[in-house]
């Protein structure tokens, strides 16, 4: 290594990964249901998809966590996004592809993806 740019490149790559270990009250939390029902309907690839995207983009203010069963097993995999000071948004029947869309629309641009939220599934 002979330049500061090389050092910076390593730092930025690592910051995304070490960001998993940060803790702050202003973080946006992405919570994936990972009980038996969630795992059986494919929550694991959804969880890793979110986690990888957040780390690749080095978004230290977003933490991707898992949780247990919230009781809506028929809608699994369920992903809840909690931003400080905003209402919780619940996405249902998620897939890694949908996760990518939610990541780009909701987490990056701040626009809720209405077609995947729980209200779109509920009987009218």
């Amino acid at each position: 290594m002979k330049t500061l740019e090389e050092l910076k490149a390593i730092r930025e790559r690592m910051q995304g990964q070490i960001g998993v270990r940060s803790e702050s009250a202003t973080q946006t939390r992405v919570v994936v249901g990972m009980a038996t029902c969630g795992i059986a309907s494919g929550a694991r690839p959804v969880l890793t998809a979110f986690s990888d995207m957040v780390q690749t983009k080095n978004l230290a203010n977003i933490s991707v966590e898992q949780t247990g069963c919230i009781g809506l097993c028929q809608y699994e995999p369920i992903v809840e996004i909690m931003e400080p000071g905003k209402d919780k948004v619940t996405y249902v029947k998620m897939t890694p592809e949908k996760a990518l869309e939610v990541f780009e629309q909701h987490l990056i641009r701040g626009q809720v993806v209405g077609k995947y939220t729980i209200s779109s599934e509920m009987p009218k």
Binding site: M1, K2, T3, L4, L7, I10, R11, R13, M14, Q15, G16, Q17, I18, V20, R21, E23, A25, V32, G33, M34, A35, T36, I39, R44, L47, T48, F50, S51, D52, Q55, T56, S63, V64, E65, Q66, T67, G68
Partner: protein, 595 residues
Amino acid sequence: MYRSHVLVCGGTGCTSSGSKKIIDTLQAEIDKNGLTKEVGVVQTGCFGLCALGPIMIVYPEATFYSMVQVEDIAEIVSEHLLKGRPVARLVYDETVTEEGIKSLNDTDFYKKQKRIALRNCGVINPENIDEYIGTHGYEALGKVLTEYTPDQVIQTILDSGLRGRGGGGFPTGLKWKLAKGNDADQKYVCCNADEGDPGAFMDRSVLEGDPHVVLEAMAIAGYAIGATQGYIYVRAEYPIAIDRLKVAIEQAREYGLLGKDIFGSGFDFDIDLRLGAGAFVCGEETALMTSIEGNRGEPRPRPPFPAQKGLFGKPTILNNVETYANIPQIILNGAPWFAAMGTEKSKGTKVFALGGKIKNTGLVEIPMGTTLREVIEEIGGGIPNGKKFKAAQTGGPSGGCIPAEHFDIAIDYDNLIAIGSMMGSGGLIVMDEDNCMVDIAKFFLEFTVDESCGKCVPCRIGTKRMYEMLEKITKGQGTLEDLDKLEELCYYIKENALCGLGQTAPNPVLSTLRYFRDEYVAHVVDKKCPAGVCKDLLSYTVDPEKCVGCTMCAKVCPASAIDGKVKEKHVINQEKCVKCGACMTKCRFGAISKK
């Protein structure tokens, strides 16, 4: 990329309570559950809460598990890592509230701390240079080499007000300035990692948890004074620290962060390790350098100071591990940031190793000026078993005792010296009403007698005589005249010993004489040890009113010193009694007392 990181403490404390095996089991369970690509296991340095080891923390939730056993691992993996349900019974109870699990940073132990020197301990994997770089590692070195002149580096350190964390508290920037001012074909940068105070382990934890910070700071120091070679003098009894330092030096060389032409600036710097055999005197700077040179570790008179004629007769600076750990942060955040913390003459933070009669044994880093009460009662969790605080010992064998009357003192270099103790390297041993202060003084003197190198007479013979007088007093054979003689000898040694070891050796005696003279007098005049520690001044007796004659005491007595039949009052034969206290612990009726 991992979605979850499990950090397991690999510091000395947790390693000895079995964290190595926990890491192996954890990895095996993770593999078994098909989580190998999702969950990363990271061995870190010390978290500070050594009393609760082995410690494990799971991110991103930041769930803090304490006293984890190998048998618990399968449950943690299948419940928490697989299904996202933290194992409540293993979560550190201070973080559990009615509203759920609160952040570790909000617990009493961490809330008041400010971690600068320890900032990476318990956060990164010390054996992975990339993780250190990920937390802004080597950025300060890069900044210094590309933007600063050596004089600017020294000015920044001077402005920050940083003082040596090894004991003396000499301004670090001034030390560097003096060394820079002396021209020579070769200069040296040394790191004193010969931590010898009983009960102190902060330098060890920095080396084990964040070894690169020391390498980076030494390179910065080398640039500032014009040195190209550094030595870390570390004691051989710190095997984990040595291993991690070796790994770190190797990685830094591979990345070109040590070696020739660092960052293309033309600056060369390399570091080698020197292992010490663990002599206390080698923590003294001139003895340490003599030892690096390959000679027997003995101090020599100063002047000339190391900045003039140090290692191999060349200008040398010598700083302690914790001092170095502050340097990169000062460069990155600026001198005003550092100088804004602490008291008027003591800036920044200080790491203390809490030990003795305290609930949270471990490592804490606090801003200078925090009171002793805050450290002991709030961060340390107070004294166990409802006992009363008697004194806190700081500075190890060179320091003194702080009595309860100074419980609200703001901790900094000058305040501690004013009340007859010293900062030292940062050992803080808490004593309660069951500790005898004469016995404590004797303990430290025994240590200095052992560790005196023997070169100068006041230390070699003086400390021995002091020890003998203390022994006489604890045996009840002392006189009031002995106390005066003892004090006189203390001052004589302080003034005449060659190096810091001897000059400070009388401090534990002087400070206990100053604050606890009544205990000395009780030993000498009343032939009693008020705390009930000195065996020769104790006697165990059976209260005939309370004794029911159960024979339990007679059964446990290893010396067969208790006579008595079933349902009859028992009597202790004082001539046979070895004062082990076994009878008193066993008696269910509280009939045995010691006086």
